[in-house]
């Protein structure tokens, strides 16, 4: 670390990095929050890149066209000269140049960014085709995102391409969010062919007329963004483990942003959308179950398909587990939105110990990362976390961290998250039986007095309610030794989606299916009173 600073004036360089941080913090909003998840060195350099990009972008938008063209041209020329010389005296570019040199970032990509920004600043956009729009997205955002890649410790060459795609999606999200500002300035960043197909012109977009067509226009843009994001998302698992939380946050944040765009539909054209608002839907989900639905009180999920998801994309299994962790975050947010009280997830069976030690190590690493990173958020959302399953095969530090998180969240009541890891249903019942037998032998209980509640109190989570809805992903249709005691009256929904792709629409679809089922609990009656939460219409 110290060697990094020997070739420059450390205090001036520090000030320059701090300036980049201030500039980034002011302009990037939730992206800044995500940047803070990076390890220190990567964060510092990523901040320098983003600070430079934000500054350049401001120059491109600033003042009268003639003045800004001149200023931007000089800015670009000076930047390239300094990067090639490896030195800058500019208060902001000093850190940027240092980062470019230190991380040996590609100057050609920087040139591409500067050229694209100058072109955007010189004339209003006029994209005829989607391909035209993609070239713009790549130039002004994909480039910067690509430059960040080496800072994140990429494992494969494909990470560079996917990072560029992720940058493009983020920029597309910005375009969708900034409609009112851009339209007022006579700028429309949508492909003309999309507008032509729907018979729309700029005035329709400004006025919000022809709402059906505008809704379709927005839906097409959001769907295109989602397709790009789906292609880019695996990059989150392709970087160093310590950088993955940042990448997951970026993917989840972008998903949430596109989701808000879809929810607003045509209104996003006139109202716009703040990225902070989008982030809030992810960070602080509101309880808003659709009216008329019967919400199950206890949903159990067999999170299946991580490895097949990875195989389908030509990725190693750990990348699937990494993406699966992101899906778990999505599931919790979705459960909070629907007002589900108990969520049990099956992540790691006792049978899985036959898998390779490397894969197991990665699974535990991911679990520990996830729980420690999410602990504060879980606590703030009122989520109680319980680890149900063996702990003796967990690494000691991991097991201890779990105990702390469980303790910290133990009195929360909004949602109880039961994480079943290294768990097997038969083992659970055998252990319960042994304990009851021991009680009987010691005279603490008479065999004829043993009832269901006695079995339950010796299960992994004694107060766990019966499961109302079991969801298994990836199309498999079996319970795989998960919660045999608690599933007796559960409704089953088998979803073909691989777990990493599971999200709110899938959970909602399962709840709708559950809500339409007739539950008799072994009797002739219809749903009894006391069955899970029925949400009043309206």
């Amino acid at each position: 670390m110290e060697n990094e600073w020997v070739d420059v004036d450390a205090s001036e360089l520090c000030e320059s990095y701090e300036l980049c941080a201030r500039v980034s913090q002011d302009r990037l909003g939730p992206v800044w929050t995500a940047l803070e998840l990076l390890p220190e060195e990567a964060r510092r350099h990523a901040t320098a890149l983003n600070g430079f990009a934000v500054w350049t972008d401001a120059l491109a938008d600033d003042s009268e066209p003639g003045v800004r063209q001149q200023a931007l041209a000089r800015w670009c020329a000076d930047t390239l000269a300094e990067v090639r010389a490896g030195h800058s005296d500019h208060p902001l570019r000093r850190a940027f140049v240092h980062t470019m040199r230190r991380a040996e970032l590609d100057v050609a990509v920087l040139e591409e960014f500067l050229d694209a920004t100058r072109a955007d600043s010189a004339a209003p956009p006029g994209f005829v085709t989607v391909a035209d729009q993609r070239r713009y997205l790549r130039g002004v955002a994909g480039t910067i995102s690509e430059l960040m890649t080496p800072l994140l410790g990429p494992r494969t060459g494909d990470a560079v391409r996917l990072m560029s795609l992720l940058g493009e999606v983020c920029q597309l999200g910005d375009i969708l969010a900034d409609f009112p500002i851009d339209l007022a300035a006579g700028r429309c960043y949508l492909p003309g062919e999309d507008l032509d197909r729907l018979g729309l012109d700029l005035e329709d977009l400004r006025s919000g007329r022809r709402r059906d067509a505008l809704d379709e226009l927005i839906a097409v843009q959001a769907a295109r963004g989602r397709a790009l994001l789906e292609e880019a998302a695996p990059v989150a698992g392709m970087v160093e483990a310590s950088c993955q939380p940042f990448m997951h946050a970026m993917v989840l944040g972008t998903e949430a942003h596109l989701g808000e765009v879809e929810r607003l539909g045509w209104r996003v054209l006139v109202e716009g959308l703040s990225s902070t608002t989008s982030a809030e839907t992810l960070i602080r989900p509101r309880r808003e179950p659709p009216a008329g639905l019967r919400i199950p009180g206890h949903v159990a999920v067999v999170m299946d398909g991580n490895r097949r998801w990875a195989t389908q994309r030509g990725l190693p299994a750990p990348d699937g587990h990494s993406a699966g962790g992101r899906a778990l975050m999505r599931l919790i947010v979705s459960a909070l939105r629907l007002g589900i009280g108990h969520l049990s997830v099956f992540g790691f069976s006792t049978e899985n110990w036959s898998r390779s030690p490397e894969e197991l190590a990665r699974v535990f690493e991911a679990a520990a990362e996830w729980i420690t990173r999410a602990a504060r958020w879980l606590q703030e959302q009122g989520v109680r976390v319980r680890w149900c399953g063996r702990r003796d095969r967990l690494e000691e530090n991991v097991a201890s961290a779990l105990a702390i998180v469980e303790s910290m969240t133990s009195t929360n009541a909004t949602l109880t998250l039961n994480v079943f890891a290294d768990y097997g249903g038969r083992d659970e019942l055998v252990a319960a039986t042994r304990r009851l037998a021991a009680e009987a032998v010691s005279g603490r209980i008479r065999p004829e007095d043993i009832g269901p509640e006695d079995i339950a109190r010796h299960c992994a989570a004694p107060d766990l309610p019966d499961v109302d809805l079991l969801i298994r992903t990836s199309g498999e249709q079996r319970t795989s030794n998960f919660l045999p005691w608690h599933l007796v009256y559960a409704e089953f929904v088998f979803d073909p989606t691989y777990w990493p792709d599971f999200g709110y629409p899938h959970l909602l679809a399962a709840v709708i299916e559950y809500s339409g089922r007739h539950r008799r609990f072994g009797g002739d009656d219809a749903d009894p009173v006391g069955d899970p939460v029925a949400v009043e219409a309206g």
Binding site: A241, E365, T372, E396, M408
Partner: protein
């Protein structure tokens, strides 16, 4: 698994490592009024066990280390090998969502007295601070308040975290042990100017740190 260990240690305990050792989750005074969101930490102590290299340096200087109550000496076979300090108060940010930014500070009860041929030094009012895994400390030496230099670097990833599940809502004992503590460049320079060339370097483990406290989760 080194990444996991580092993550877990600095993430779950966060600001607990290094100076504020087992600082309260949240930021109000240690053991003070219950914190509605994060709970409180109480009955904490910090223990430093000197390494053989540190003990050799004491011998080299003909120095004797004594402890000022309520700090207590740890002895083995009649030899003082360390000290335990009760935590008087502590605040900290565990930075659960941003591990490298864990930070905090504490006030330790008691102190240390070093008797050597060149003089007697009494260190009290020990106020360690953690920032970026570096522990600095302000203290009073022979009644004069010192400035807070970066004194020690804690090898957080090499320690053991110990906590065992308890029933919901019950106090939880948390311990972190065997965290190696190294001198910093600054503390080496300060040592050299006061006592001459030290026998240790920035890579020498001076002591092993153990800390323990009781975590009380927030009430329902």
């Amino acid at each position: 698994m080194s990444v996991t260990r580092r993550t877990v240690l600095s993430g779950a305990l966060g600001g607990a490592l290094a100076a504020p050792f087992l600082a309260q989750f949240g930021g109000t005074a240690f053991g003070a009024t219950p914190n509605a969101t994060w709970g409180t930490v109480s009955s904490g102590w910090v223990e430093l066990r000197y390494s053989s290299e540190a003990l050799a340096q004491f011998d080299h200087l003909h120095a004797v280390v004594e402890h000022i109550a309520p700090a207590t000496a740890i002895t083995e076979n009649g030899t003082t090998v360390g000290a335990r300090f009760p935590i008087h108060s502590a605040t900290g940010n565990p930075a659960l969502t941003n591990l490298p930014q864990a930070e905090g500070n504490a006030l330790l009860d008691g102190g240390v007295m070093v008797r050597a041929p060149m003089g007697q030094f009494t260190f009290t009012q020990l106020r360690p601070t953690l920032d970026n895994e570096l522990a600095s400390c302000t203290y009073t030496v022979n009644g004069v308040e010192s400035s807070g230099q970066s004194l020690l670097r804690c090898g957080a990833s090499q320690g053991r975290l110990l906590a065992h599940p308890v029933p919901a809502g019950q106090p939880l004992s948390i311990r972190i042990e065997r965290v190696p503590v190294y001198p910093t460049t600054e503390s080496l320079a300060a040592f050299a100017s006061a006592f001459g060339t030290p026998t240790f370097t920035v890579d020498t483990v001076l002591a092993y740190l153990t800390a323990e406290a009781v975590y009380n989760p927030p009430r329902a």
